[in-house]
Amino acid sequence: MTDLALEHPIEGDITVPGAPDDESDELSTLDEPVVITVKRDLKAVGIKFFHVLWPKQSKTLLREWDLWGPLILCILLGMMLQGSSADDNSDGGPQFAEVFVIVTGGAIIVTLNSQLLGGTISFFQSVCVLGYCVLPLNVALIVCRLVLLAPEQTTALFVIRFAIVFVGFVWSTFASMAFLADSQPINRKALAVYPICLFYFIIGWMILSHTHS
């Protein structure tokens, strides 16, 4: 009895009742070639990316959560926001760590906030959703970098970059709301949404203010 209590101490369910039971597959995946494992994981990540870009009421992100996508996106964001070493010494090393800390720390803080407000999903599910929903901002960053390749940066180009980042910010917020809002009590959705907005706002601001090539 004690063992059972120890084995199930956390609140909330990672699995949704009625989901396919894949425990029998876990044992068999140990012997399969690495290529197949990587392909399967990449496919799972790809499906989740698709769900983020086309957000609809879906439980895929919550049911089969993983942290590969957030890790890939976080590293991509950090690498692209890294200043070159020729710049003044505020850019360079700390930039990557700064982005990493902001994304992971921010996701943790927002998750804790959602849980304290009475959310019904578990910690890692929330971190998974918030991490995956950084994808639109990543896409915005890539487009901004392409815009920054232009020889002269005019006000019009800045307005274009602002518009792109704004669209990415709204998309990210909307996508995360589609997945997370249902887990909050109806009258407190705004309280949970505000920190998510702030989180993506800070990331968007970092993308917009990054003008070094």
Binding site: I102, I109, L116, L198
Partner: protein
């Protein structure tokens, strides 16, 4: 019992090999056939001809693994207990039990001081509002730091912003609570945290407006907002504390502390992290002292005078080297530039005499070509003309 003692490697472990067998009495084993070292409880020497050799090997492994399992479970239980005690976020749940309209109401009322009556003013103790205000302040400070090119040598911008905001919130709240405790104010730490947190919304507004509307005159705007917005927020806090304290001097002390902490923090945030106002006309670049002044602006007069002084020094250096030949010129120049010093060394005089072409003019021209400043060429040209007149 004997078997357990021997398993722990007591002094008799070597003497009774038969008793050094299993820790757990498995019942079916024959102890006569087992022998083991004291502290090496898992090594087995299977006696020759023993029919239980393999079983004892597996018994040893089983014993080892079950002991390890026991240790693991015990450790896990301890960790779980510690986590449930200290890491349980349910402790904080009551402080996040708010509705959105409550938060908005409290934000608005943090700028509206209420008249002090005999009854203590109501203060809601919650942590959601203050935390969100602080995160917003962190975001605004980051914006300000990035837009003004603030450089942090040790650490990151994010760490600095977080440290400053959270540090102030907790430190100021603790300080105010300590003084409130000494002054016998009827207020709890949670209420103090809540009040201080909500009052930081004035910092958010002031810093946001000054970051967005920064200009050369931004100090006036900042001071105006500092007094009006910051003043209203601090007045609200002061009325709350005064209504809950008895005794005039205690009220004064507490009010003084609250006002000074609140207003000085706003001053600090503006001047420490908002460099644009400090260097007018230069955005995102440090001031570089070189003689290139493309647009002469009134506020750069000081810069110009510094540059002219440095150019003068260069010219004087040149004149100093060849001065003895053109002593009259030097005198005239000395009249114009009283800082010129005429050296007495013979070597310099000889060098000046040997050179027949006009070294002063050449040196001056070299200096002019090195100094790329149209504004300073006029006095130098004047000098050159004076020297030419002296030559003629």
């Amino acid at each position: 019992m004997d078997t357990r003692e021997s398993w722990y490697g007591g002094p008799d472990s070597g003497k009774h090999p038969r008793e050094e067998s299993a820790v757990i009495d498995l019942g079916t084993l024959d102890d006569d056939d087992s022998s083991t070292g004291g502290s090496e409880g898992f090594t087995r020497k299977s006696p020759p001809g023993s029919q239980y050799g393999d079983e004892e090997k597996s018994t040893g492994e089983f014993v080892g693994s079950s002991a390890a399992n026991l240790v693991w479970l015990a450790g896990k239980q301890q960790a779980q207990k510690a986590f449930n005690l200290y890491g349980n976020i349910d402790i904080l749940r009551p402080y996040f039990d708010v509705e959105p309209k409550d938060v908005i109401d409290r934000l608005i009322h943090s700028f509206i001081p209420q008249k002090v009556t005999g009854t203590p003013q109501k203060v809601f103790g919650e942590l959601y509002g203050p935390l969100m205000v602080i995160f917003t302040l962190v975001a605004i400070i980051l914006m300000g730091m990035k837009s003004s090119g603030h450089v942090v040598r040790e650490g990151t911008l994010m760490g600095t912003a977080f440290g400053v905001c959270f540090g102030y919130w907790i430190f100021a709240s603790c300080l105010i609570f300590m003084l409130a405790y000494v002054c016998n104010t009827h207020i709890t730490l949670l209420q103090v945290l809540s009040l201080t947190g909500y009052s930081l919304s004035s910092h958010c507004i002031v810093l946001f407006v000054t970051t967005v509307l920064h200009s050369t005159e931004s100090h006036y705007l900042f001071y105006l907002l500092w007094l009006s917005v910051g003043g209203m927020a601090v007045l609200k806090m002061v009325t709350v504390y005064v209504s809950r304290t008895s005794g005039k001097s205690q009220k004064l002390m507490l009010a003084g502390l609250v006002v000074s902490l609140h207003l000085f923090f706003m001053l600090y945030l503006h001047f420490a992290y908002h460099n644009v106002a400090e260097v007018p006309g230069v955005v995102k670049e440090p001031v570089i002292h070189h003689p290139v002044v493309p647009d002469r602006l009134e506020r750069d007069i000081q810069l110009d005078s510094k540059l002219s002084n440095s150019a003068n020094d260069a010219v004087q250096e040149v004149i100093r080297k060849v001065a003895p030949k053109h002593v009259e010129a030097v005198d005239e120049i000395e009249a114009v530039h009283p800082n010129v010093v005429v050296p007495d060394s013979d070597a310099v005089r000889d060098a000046a005499v040997v050179n027949d072409d006009n070294p002063v003019q050449d040196a001056l021209k070299d200096t002019i070509s090195n100094i790329d400043n149209a504004q300073l060429n006029a006095p130098i040209d004047k000098l050159v003309d004076q020297v030419k007149e002296n030559d003629a």
